[in-house]
């Protein structure tokens, strides 16, 4: 086993060597511009791009013409949300503004920030609050829809806690009401079976670097029929990607994206079972060894490979310092200027102290049982070390509820 151990696959993944292999010829041999329609270099590049389009479409049950290449999921989210809002905006402006959008407070910033911008530009946004389990249901969305709702954007699986929303159900509600439905599926696609037809999705974002592909390339699924979804382009200049996203295509990146999708299609089933077993071992072992260890988010509706655990009375950043051989992330965000803990964990209505005490561990294609065993021991040791230092753990052991104390906040 090599140290350090990588358990931050929800941030980014190692590019699969098979993907790199597929990309390499497109840098030095097949280096044409895929938009060059009148020579062999262009045709060869285009062939690579179109194969990748089929591979990406096939992973999600779509047609190749429904895939728009972007620079990543952030751009896909921006194009989907702003593009749909601008296309379906009420003109002239209605009484409640240019139109109503429904999203959720624990979405990724790449969804929250475009929605905030639209709010400033005259759209009305409903920010759904999930319960303590972090799951957004079809009923919640149905309850928020209005006459003037034009767009719903709800992520498939949450990037910090791994909870899974009822996408087929939310999609069905939107379809019935004639509302465009976008989902940020960055953490979901490639890890879990996806079928945009059965799952009632109109627009869907994902990125290459989360599925063992290259960074800097993403895709947006745009439904073409039943119903046809139209978008206002956000980047103009040449009309590439059927006018929805101009700019010379990143051919090697796209080829790598396609190869990554093809590998996921092939290996997803066995991979998710293997990772689920490892994640359950990690969670169960930590919970059995220590008290006040909480897995955040819904107990069952969650991604196989990702867990978010709070270790009571221990601050997350100091915990990460004690397990420096394990690359992971914390909800404590103590390094940020605001000193605010994770808005996702706060959004569940947990106390801030639980958010400060959390670790996110995300497994991936090369995670081994040996690494999980090492992580269990290392985390256990670090938590014990820090609890021996923790005045809060003493208070807890004296039977004092720390949430009832009047702390001197300053």
């Amino acid at each position: 086993m090599n140290l350090p151990i990588y358990m931050d696959n929800a941030s980014t993944t190692r590019t699969d060597p098979r993907v790199v292999e597929a990309m390499l010829p497109y840098f030095t041999e097949t280096y044409g511009n895929s938009a060059s329609r009148n020579h062999a270099f262009g045709w060869a590049a285009e062939k690579g791009v179109e194969l990748a389009r089929e591979q990406a479409a096939s992973l999600i049950g779509a047609g190749p013409k429904e895939i728009v290449w972007t620079s990543g999921a952030t751009e896909s989210n921006n194009l989907a949300i702003k593009g749909a809002a601008q296309m379906y905006a009420k003109a002239p402006m209605g009484e409640t503004g240019r139109g109503h959008i429904v999203t959720c407070i624990i979405e990724h910033k790449a969804v929250l920030d475009p929605c905030k911008r639209l709010e400033r530009e005259g759209f009305d946004v409903t920010w759904l609050e999930p319960g303590a389990d972090g799951v957004v249901t079809a009923e919640m969305v149905a309850g928020a829809l209005r006459e003037d709702t034009i767009l719903v954007s709800i992520m498939w699986a949450n990037n910090e806690i791994g909870t899974i929303n009822d996408i087929p159900g939310i999609g069905a509600v939107c379809r019935e009401r004639g509302v465009v439905f976008h989902t940020d599926a960055t953490q979901w696609v490639g890890k879990m079976p996806t079928d945009v037809e059965k799952d009632n999705v109109d627009l869907m974002s994902w990125s290459g670097h989360k599925i063992y592909g290259p960074g800097g390339v993403g895709a947006l699924y745009v439904r073409r029929r039943r119903p046809r979804v139209r978008l206002q382009a956000q980047i103009d200049g040449g009309g590439h990607e059927r006018g929805m996203r101009s700019g010379t295509l990143n051919v090697p990146g796209i080829v790598g994206f396609g190869a990554a999708c093809a590998i996921c299609s092939e290996e997803m089933e066995t991979e998710r079972e293997r990772l689920l077993a490892l994640r359950l071992k990690l969670e169960n072992e930590l919970k059995s060894r220590m008290d006040v260890v909480e897995v955040n988010g819904h107990a069952d509706r969650r991604l196989p490979h990702l867990t978010n655990i709070s270790f009571g009375f221990v601050e997350g950043e100091s915990l990460m310092m004690g397990i420096k051989d394990i690359a992971c992330s914390s909800g404590s965000a103590c390094t940020s200027a605001s000193l605010e803990p994770s808005y996702v964990l706060k959004g569940l209505g947990l106390g801030d102290e639980l958010a400060h005490s959390s670790l996110r561990l995300s497994l991936g294609r090369w995670s081994t049982e040996e690494e999980v065993d090492y992580a269990i021991d290392a985390i256990h040791k670090a938590v014990e070390h820090l609890r021996a230092l923790s005045p809060l753990y003493d208070l807890h052991n004296e039977g004092i509820d720390i949430t009832k104390i009047e702390w001197q906040t300053h």
Binding site: S318, D352, E353, L389, P391
Partner: protein, 146 residues
């Protein structure tokens, strides 16, 4: 973020960890002053206990800390620095000296402020218990956002 070697050393080998008794046990002890500063929701709580001899000298100090590595190091360092000093000398310790010693980056300056606060709060507690005048005027940088 990379930590300085001194922060890592204090984190791995914290000095003077502990307490002279639980909060109820030390509450009425006149030779012990207690300072608890910060709040769990802010991600930092420091508890400093000082034991003062008849001449007003801090003969021993113990700390506990819930917080990041820099917070742990700041409070550990504070116990080292105040031991053997008179209470009035200990009040002279400014957070900027802790920042220098531990090479704390700007985002971690609040940890040193909390350590200074914990020293002052513990000394005030000791003075109050012993009927001494507490000089509440103190100046340090509170401009950081919490």
């Amino acid at each position: 973020m990379a930590y300085s070697e001194k922060v890592i050393d204090h984190y791995q080998n914290p000095r003077n960890v502990g307490a002279f008794g639980s909060s109820s046990e030390v509450k009425d002890r006149k030779d012990v002053g207690v300072g608890i500063v910060g709040a769990p929701e802010c991600g930092d709580v420091m508890q400093l206990q000082i034991k003062v001899d008849d001449d007003g000298k801090i003969e021993d100090a113990k700390f506990k800390c819930f917080g990041c590595g820099s917070a742990i190091a700041s409070s550990s360092l504070a116990t080292e620095w105040i031991k053997g000093k008179s209470v009035d000398e200990a009040l002279e310790i400014k957070n900027t000296r802790i920042v220098e010693e531990l090479a704390l980056p700007p985002v971690k300056i609040h940890c040193s402020v909390l350590a200074e606060d914990s020293i002052r709060t513990a000394i005030e507690d000791y003075k109050k218990k012993n009927g001494q005048v507490v000089d509440s005027a103190h100046g340090h940088d509170h401009s950081h956002a919490h």
